[in-house]
């Protein structure tokens, strides 16, 4: 590049009759060279960014891809020390086995029941509490909000012994309802803070107007405020739902597997599959795909609501 510029400039100096023309060409050449030099590093940078993105996508998707292809590998194909990224004879045997021989449907039903009940109770109790803390005159409101936050710092796992004693006294040990009580109770603080933050952004004048028109406070809450708070409700509900879908330690404490293993959640069930002497990876992979793919789709679809529905970060003290 610089050679060209030099050549252009010497030729323009040498030819005295064509000075003007030569200078124009030289300048054009120089401009071209500078543009090239500028574009070159930015092209390189763009290329590097693509390389980075490809590496990250491989990192992000490899576990998911691998488990999907493993679920399609039949028999002993997975017990090899050589790398295989595609199953040689894809079959649905693992899925058929998971649905017919494993209590997979029981696990899904149990988990779904726990998650749905947790969400229902958690939402109902925290939305009313959050509304009262946002709208009603309450003595010691700031104190109770801070107290809730302090309680939240005590994660359920730290209370293993206490939960065991508590559920034993209530007669809820080894029942799904026992787990619902723990999960729902544990999700209330998050729900309350999140929804109170959202209610605070809605103008109280709406309810005041409704009450002037003769609505009771509860009618104003149910008919006016609640529909407006739908994004916050949806975001809170999703987070409450996922708790039960993901939890291992407390579920393991509360639920004792019966001989057939039909009373477990599927995280527990999957773990019993893994802890066998020889892990049946194929069945494990098929089961994982069945229970995680719907959730991934739900989550990716719902994440657009998070921006408007999650207020935790912007809660004013």
């Amino acid at each position: 590049m610089s050679d060209q510029i030099m050549k252009a400039s010497t030729s323009s100096e040498g030819a005295s009759t064509q000075v003007a023309v030569g200078r124009v060409t030289a300048e054009r050449e120089r401009a071209k060279a500078i543009a090239l030099r500028r574009r070159f590093p930015s092209n390189l940078l763009t290329g590097l960014i693509y390389v980075y993105l490809v590496i990250m996508v491989v990192f992000a998707l490899f576990p998911i891809y691998y488990v999907v292809q493993a679920s399609l590998a039949g028999g002993q194909n997975l017990y090899t020390t050589d790398l295989k990224l595609l199953p040689s004879n894809p079959t649905f045997d693992n899925y058929i086995y998971a649905f017919t021989q494993l209590p997979l449907l029981n696990w899904i039903a149990n988990t779904f029941f726990i998650c749905a009940m947790t969400t229902l109770i958690g939402l109902a109790f925290s939305v009313t509490g959050a509304y009262a803390l946002s709208r009603f005159r309450i003595r010691g409101r700031d104190l109770s909000l801070n107290l809730l936050l302090a309680i939240q710092a005590f994660p359920g796992l730290l209370a293993l012994t206490a939960y065991y004693v508590l559920l034993n006294k209530l007669g809820l040990l080894n029942t799904l309802v026992g787990l619902v009580v723990i999960y729902a109770g544990g999700s209330l603080v998050f729900g309350c803070w999140n929804m109170k933050g959202y209610f605070d952004t809605l103008p109280v004048e709406l309810e005041q107007a409704a009450m002037i028109d003769g609505a009771t406070p509860t009618q104003a809450f149910l008919r006016v405020t609640l529909p407006l708070a739908a994004p916050a409700l949806a975001a809170s509900a999703l987070f409450m739902f996922i708790v039960g879908w993901n939890e291992y330690a407390l579920a393991n404490l509360v639920l004792n597997s019966n001989t057939a293993g039909t009373n477990l959640t599927f995280v527990l069930g999957l773990y019993t599959l893994q802890s066998d002497f020889r892990t049946p990876w194929g069945y494990f992979a098929a089961t994982s795909v069945v229970v995680s793919v719907p959730l991934i789709i739900l989550f990716l679809y719902a994440q657009r609501f998070f921006k408007s529905g999650l207020t935790i970060g912007s809660v004013k003290g």
Partner: protein, 309 residues
């Protein structure tokens, strides 16, 4: 404020507060009480003993507290630094307007966030398997038949494995937070810095970083707290092991796993409920302090914003 009767207020608040008191309050009080007794599996007839358990926890030479806290804090620091670096690089890449196919990159890079973490932990355990796991299989393609990384069985490799899985799980959250902040940085500022002759490096550290820092700080503290409390992922992959020194807890036995193994663990001869309760209360105080620290930082930020407005 709405004017309502006391009865209405009570009816709205009661279900929430009674449930929280029962499910979250009583365990705290009960654990606090237990921490002052001498209850163990073989000592059913327990009495109040004062602060002996705490004294033992803090001052006894064979106390595990410092080791477990140290391993946990090391894990938290390494993880949060990696969240920030990977999240920032990914957000910067996605914020570059020359990159085509944004919709694809954004969805693909969010998938780890959407996948249920307990199940992906088990999938990762499978990937780390010494003989049949694909990570070692890929290594064998490049480095020959005898290659094998002892994930899970060698202390630092196990540590690296659980760091890697946590980064995989959490970087999408940071990408989303940082990307949101990056998009609110006005383009004119970059233009102005460029005109003043600042190179890309300088523009990043003097313009971009100060402007996105308010969004990053709470996310970093929040994830530090959740990483501190992390149980599922690490327990399902390493169960807290390996244990290079038998007189010490396992190398990846972070606070929650330590507690869990001491109460529910398979090889526990005698469960010292009272001592574990004292451990739990200590962890609770550390976490509570962190939470309030995070909150006061958040409040400072809103106050500063209000002062500017």
């Amino acid at each position: 404020m709405l004017k309502v009767s006391r009865g209405t207020t009570a009816a709205y608040l009661a279900p929430m507060f009674i449930t929280i008191a029962l499910v979250s309050g009583t365990p705290i009080v009960y654990t606090l009480y237990l921490s002052l007794t001498n209850l163990s599996l073989f000592n059913d007839d327990y009495t109040l003993r004062g602060l002996g358990n705490y004294q033992k926890l803090f001052f006894a030479t064979d106390s595990d507290l410092l080791y477990v806290l140290g391993q946990t804090v090391l894990y938290v620091i390494i993880c949060v630094v990696l969240f920030l670096v990977v999240g920032m690089l990914t957000a910067l890449a996605l914020n570059n307007r020359k990159i085509k196919g944004q919709a694809f990159w954004r969805v693909a890079l969010l998938v780890p966030w959407a996948a249920p973490s307990a199940i992906t932990a088990l999938i990762w355990k499978f990937l780390f398997n010494y003989d049949f796991g694909p990570i070692n299989q890929i290594g064998r393609v490049f480095f020959g038949r005898n290659f094998g990384v002892p994930w899970v069985t060698s202390p630092w490799w196990a540590f690296a494995a659980v760091v890697m899985v946590n980064v995989w799980l959490t970087y999408p959250f940071f990408t989303v937070v940082i990307l949101g902040a990056l998009q609110s940085v006005p383009e004119e500022l970059h233009e102005a810095a460029r005109v003043d002759g600042a190179n890309a490096w300088r523009r990043f550290f003097s313009v971009t970083l100060p402007l996105v820092r308010p969004a990053i700080t709470p996310a970093a503290i929040l994830s530090a707290i959740t990483t501190f409390q992390m149980f599922n992922t690490v327990f399902l992959i390493t169960s807290g092991g390996p244990t290079p020194d038998p007189s010490r807890p396992g190398f990846t036995e972070f606070v929650m796993i330590y507690m869990y193994n001491r109460v529910v663990g398979a090889n526990v001869a005698n469960v010292h409920y009272a001592q574990i309760a004292a451990f739990a209360i200590t962890v609770f105080i550390v976490l509570g302090a962190l939470t309030f620290f995070a909150r006061s930082l958040g409040q400072q930020r809103t106050r500063r914003k209000e002062a500017l407005a």
